[in-house]
Symmetry: C2
Subunit: 385 residues, 2 copies
């Protein structure tokens, strides 16, 4: 971080990249986010820690689109990545750069998924890690962190409380602080979502990108990526309108946007089942708000009940079991379409930030129980050809 306490961002020699790299060059490259290594901060290939992350599918959703009166609805499915969430991108690049600068042990607070990703990538890199997470963070992420061999602590509180404990540990034990935006490289990993969306749309930008926003690093990263692509001339024209989607139980960015402010206030007693976006005050809130304002985007809050309903709708109509955060972004899409803020013909990309399977307690199911000799009874037969 800067000595003033503000986050640092990485700058590249974009003139150099423009001269020496073309989109055509990418075709022969690895199908991971490391295909963009000229736009990433890791210098030595030996330091690139990879488990095959990146180039997640950009999936067309015609049935859900129809249900929302939209003709070009797409999902960037970040469930198909190591650890099952987009946090793997920040971890892959962040851990790689930590390794490159000689870090031995990193520390971070987490709502679960980031800690899982960083602890596992740290193991892959041969680094030690210390992770502090709220007691009620998803159990699966606890398993991932513990299995990685990290020092895992639970806290009877929120991620902000975990953050305070990590802050003290960083000072007391000389650890590398990998908290959101306290090092500048995580955002570079998240940025690759923006690079991939542009490449997968054949270097055309969509009209709108909706992003479930906790710490907001992905949104900041996508904004940074698209600006860099503009500078090297790989995309042209207006940037997509960026939408920050939050939960009604934790919506500091939405409140700030509605009030036209440039940063947010701490959200007291925050609560939502979409654990990944339960962040009462993001360190990079001013960067998120700036990206929204600059792209004529907006911010919108979604209630938990609507998320759960939409999660089921996406599964029924498109066969994708998205995470609650992703479902929130789909509800936001639906609402903004209803309000006319999104037009029928616009190309809209929704970030599903993780696999629904990481949240076993979100869905309530009560199926019929049969004994071994039972038969399935139903009124009508199926007419199969």
């Amino acid at each position: 971080m800067c000595t003033c306490g503000a986050p640092l961002l990485v700058n590249y020699d974009l003139e150099g990249v423009k001269k020496n790299l073309s989109p055509e060059d990418l075709k022969e490259r690895t199908n991971t986010l490391w295909r963009y290594h000229e736009l990433l901060p890791v210098e030595d290939e030996d330091n690139m820690v990879s488990l095959g992350e990146g180039m997640t599918p950009l999936v067309s959703l015609p049935q859900l689109g129809k249900d929302m009166s939209m003709k070009n609805l797409l999902m960037k499915d970040e469930g198909l990545i190591p650890t099952g969430t987009f946090k793997a991108r920040g971890a892959a690049v962040g851990v790689s750069k930590a390794k490159e600068v000689g870090v031995k042990e990193l520390a971070m607070p987490t709502n679960g998924n980031a800690g899982a990703a960083w602890a596992l990538y740290a193991s892959r890199a041969g680094l030690q890690s210390t992770v502090v997470m709220p007691d009620d963070a998803p159990k699966i992420t606890r398993n991932e962190v513990a299995s990685s061999g990290a020092n895992l602590y639970l806290v009877n509180g929120l991620i902000s409380d975990a953050g305070k404990i990590v802050g003290k540990a960083v000072k007391d034990h000389d650890l590398y602080d990998a908290s959101t935006l306290k090092e500048p490289y995580r955002i570079e990993g998240k940025k690759t979502m923006g690079l991939e969306i542009a490449e997968q749309l054949n270097w055309k930008m969509p009209d709108v990108i909706l992003y479930p926003t906790g710490g907001g690093v992905g949104l900041i990263g996508i904004y940074k990526a698209l600006n860099e692509l503009k500078e090297i001339g790989w995309v042209v024209g207006k940037l997509p309108r960026l939408v920050a989607v939050q939960a009604t139980g934790c919506a500091p960015i939405v409140k700030a946007w509605e009030e036209g402010k440039s940063d947010s206030e701490f959200w007291n007693e925050s609560e939502t089942l979409a654990f990944g976006i339960n962040v009462p005050k993001a360190l990079g809130d001013f960067l998120v708000l700036d990206a929204i304002y600059k792209t004529d985007g907006c911010a919108i809050a979604i209630d938990d009940e609507s998320m759960v309903q939409e999660q089921e709708k996406v599964a029924r109509l498109e066969g994708s079991f998205v995470c609650p955060e992703g479902a929130a972004a789909f509800v936001a899409t639906r609402r903004l379409r209803e309000q006319g803020w999104i037009q029928e013909e616009e190309t809209v990309v929704v970030l599903n930030t993780g696999a629904g399977i990481k949240y076993p307690d979100t869905v309530q199911v009560n199926p019929e129980m049969l004994e071994k000799d039972d038969v399935i009874r139903r009124v009508e037969n199926v007419i199969n050809k």
Copy 2:
């Protein structure tokens, strides 16, 4: 199925493929299993039901390899696929072909993951499905099936009991039977693992492939794929030795192989925490055994405790949180290396058939609990640069 009750396999005009397709052609294609569509049974592109499945990473595991005295240990990571397990491959191709032949509703028994994949892909295709799973199958898979809108039933018994109920329902209600090997297309989807391994090794075959074996469709499929690639001249030489890995609590194929038999006997009171390979009698057992015999492979059973230990070892050394079935295959690799059956220099591919995050109850974790104002105490500080 054949009228005699045996499974059918798909044959292709391989001479035609050999004439009209080259490995070079694949480079420009979609990064999913549909890149091999000439070797898949779906004829009309409109029937290809896709959520971005396939081309999962083939990850090098140098640290785990070192721990096993192996120089070329690779993992094909099937956790990075829709629904989080390799079952997505069979479902994508199987559901697509079902759609193509006009099916309206399919039915199947499952230990969880296959049912989740087929129910979700059926939704994507606009087909209805009926799924019967044991009561103690993983809860997450229950959520996936229910969310897809499938007719979900639990049975107080094993997958073989679920199979009997499905068999009756298929007859009573004219459903399409999508049980393992009761239709010939699932195997074609699974086959793509073999095609991808060959392509990712630049059309060289590895020396050994280890596969966690329940129904065994993947192993049969990989064997079929490599033989087809030989016929079209894309790979040459000896096929890899194929290894069927089972659990000591359910090892019918291992028993048959040890006794030199060509098919297996029903395994009574089967039990293992690796739910995906709890299959007491596989319909395609004779095909699995044939593939093992023909490639000078073997079959080996692993106890649950060793699986759990190896799962943690893979996470600690390589940062990958594999499923228990995948962990079983790693233990098998370790044992076969110790016995000298695998040589130090050999190229060995282990199939991790799914993401560890689908099994939240496998890992037992008891981390230290902190209060908000606590500090982390430790003996030594870290020397970070």
